[in-house]
């Protein structure tokens, strides 16, 4: 088994095919989308491939330490040009092929006009623990 992170972006990913902001969808389209997302997670729970899923607020700041003893420096809210993560799902699957297949399904969630959004999701393998046998 291998863990993968599926990252969804508010900004910073290439534009989706069906790229309409959510508040411009109809309420029915919104419901269909949310149902698809929760069905997807439930299905992965049933197959034993679901690990975690979280959504993030778009509000946030960059923080770094300042000179010793001083309070940390903040930069934000994020500028319009910055990459912005919307949320993630972690899956635990048998192969890279399976991870790609699932990311593809998630990207096809219905959006405006009931058509698949075809949004870009970022798929990142987790680095694993050191295996016992390495030679």
């Amino acid at each position: 088994m291998a863990k993968y992170l599926l990252l969804k972006h508010y900004r910073g990913a290439p534009a989706a095919v069906n790229d309409v902001p959510m508040d411009r969808w109809t309420p029915q389209e919104l419901s269909a989308h949310l149902r698809y997302m929760s069905d997807f997670a439930a299905r992965l729970e049933a197959t034993g491939e679901f690990v975690d899923s979280q959504a993030l607020s778009p509000e946030g700041t960059f923080v770094r330490s300042d000179s010793a003893g001083g309070p940390p420096v903040t930069d934000g809210p994020f500028a319009e040009t910055k990459d912005l993560i919307a949320g993630w799902m972690v899956i635990d699957v048998d192969s890279h092929e399976r991870a790609v297949e699932l990311a593809g399904e998630l990207s096809a969630a219905p959006g405006a006009g009931g058509q698949p959004i075809h949004e870009w999701l970022e798929l990142r393998p987790f680095l694993t623990e050191l295996p016992t046998i390495t030679e």
Binding site: D23, R24, T26, S31, L34, R35, S38, A55, S57
Partner: protein, 382 residues
């Protein structure tokens, strides 16, 4: 089947008995947890006639075993210092004192919540961890640190009831996740605190919880989406809980010592009293928010008051009241969107609903606010 509710309701009493016999709080709490686990294991086969007596006996034995093991471990280590003498016995003389200890002002809110749920709620660390979506090891550390923090506290004067009530309020507001219904658990504990303390604000908090819990069946659709108060099917409100909440509140108010929880419960009671949303007595609700503001000066109460003014005196009055507040307040944009829609300005309302969705702090509200924006935008396109 083990009656878990019964088992848990006995927890604080049994801890108090062990402490009275000379155990320190942390060791007593550990021993009672061990006894609870044994009860869950053995009672289905062999249920004792006197559950409380059984728990006291078994917990005391667990405490003695642990104390002996600890003493011999210390002898083996041949420590040069005698600093590990057990801490001073906490003068806990009843269950209420345990609540004070678990919500001691020296604890952070998160620690007080965890310790309360374990020591007086009788939940396991695993259940608490699951409810708060943190790893079990993290929650175990939080609880043992909290126990160390209060280890030296002597309960020789009355504790601070306000901190106990705040902890229970936090537990109630966390709602539901995992196998434990935290809202129901908070009500159970609030009932006990109200009975033990006979304080009108404890009653006020209990009433507030009962009245909000009564609406829970109508508050979400089967798909999990939020139903706003005005659109809820009031036939699905729990009339038994409402009746109890109103009774508890009236008895508290009759003592004429108003506090913030009583004022909040009064608002909830006025909503419960209206058979339809249109029949809501908004004028009285505004008056209760005025009382709440006088008591707390809370910005959140000010925001809720502005929305109530919008219902009582029209959306323009509501928007005027809102204009005096800090736009950075939680739910400010949502309140403004709502009032603009009622004022016949769907363009501004849709824009502010979209802003509100971006500022939302939870998924259910975010989806609800996005849906409101989508609904108005769809109307504007037609």
């Amino acid at each position: 089947m083990v009656d878990e509710a019964l088992l848990r309701s006995l927890t604080p009493t049994v801890i108090a008995v062990l402490v009275r016999r000379g155990a320190d709080f942390a060791a007593a709490e550990d021993a009672v947890q061990d006894a609870l686990i044994e009860a869950v294991r053995t009672w289905p086969r062999d249920r004792p006639h006197d559950p409380q007596g059984w728990l006291i006996t078994v917990a005391w034995r667990k405490f003695l075993d642990a104390a002996r093991a600890e003493a011999s471990r210390r002898r083996r280590e041949e420590s040069a210092h005698a600093e590990t003498v057990p801490g001073p016995a906490v003068a806990v003389d009843d269950t209420l004192q345990l609540y004070f200890l678990c919500a001691h002002p020296s604890l952070s809110p998160a620690s007080a919540v965890a310790l309360t749920l374990r020591a007086v709620g009788g939940l396991t660390t695993r259940q608490i961890a699951q409810a708060y979506l943190v790893p079990e090891a993290t929650m175990a550390q939080r609880i043992s640190r909290a126990k160390r923090t209060v280890a030296g506290v002597r309960l020789n004067r009355p504790g601070d009831l306000a901190t106990v009530l705040r902890v229970l309020y936090l537990v109630f507001n966390e709602g539901y996740s995992g196998e434990v219904d935290l809202a129901a658990e908070a009500i159970r504990l609030a009932r006990q605190v109200a009975a033990l303390s006979r304080h009108e604000e404890a009653a006020g908090l209990l009433a507030l919880m009962l009245l909000h819990h009564a609406r829970r069946p109508a508050r979400t659709r089967p798909d999990g989406s939020l139903v706003p108060l005005a659109e809820q099917d009031r036939g699905r409100w729990d009339t038994r809980l409402i009746a109890e909440g109103v009774d508890v509140l009236q008895a508290a108010l009759a003592r004429d010592r108003l506090g913030e929880f009583q004022a909040q419960a009064a608002v909830a009671a006025l909503h419960a009293d209206a058979r339809t949303a249109a029949e809501t007595d908004w004028v009285q609700i505004v008056e209760w928010y005025d009382e709440l503001l006088r008591l707390t000066g809370s910005p959140v109460a000010r925001l809720n008051r502005a929305v109530a003014v919008g219902e009582a005196d029209g959306p323009r009055a509501g928007l005027a009241a809102l204009a005096a507040l800090d736009p950075a307040l939680p739910r400010y944009a949502a309140a403004e969107a709502y009032l603009h829609e009622r004022d016949g300005d769907p363009v501004t309302a849709a824009r502010r609903y979209a802003d509100a969705a971006r500022a939302a702090s939870n998924l259910a509200e975010r989806d609800h606010l996005t849906r409101q924006a989508a609904r108005l935008n769809a109307q504007l396109r037609d």
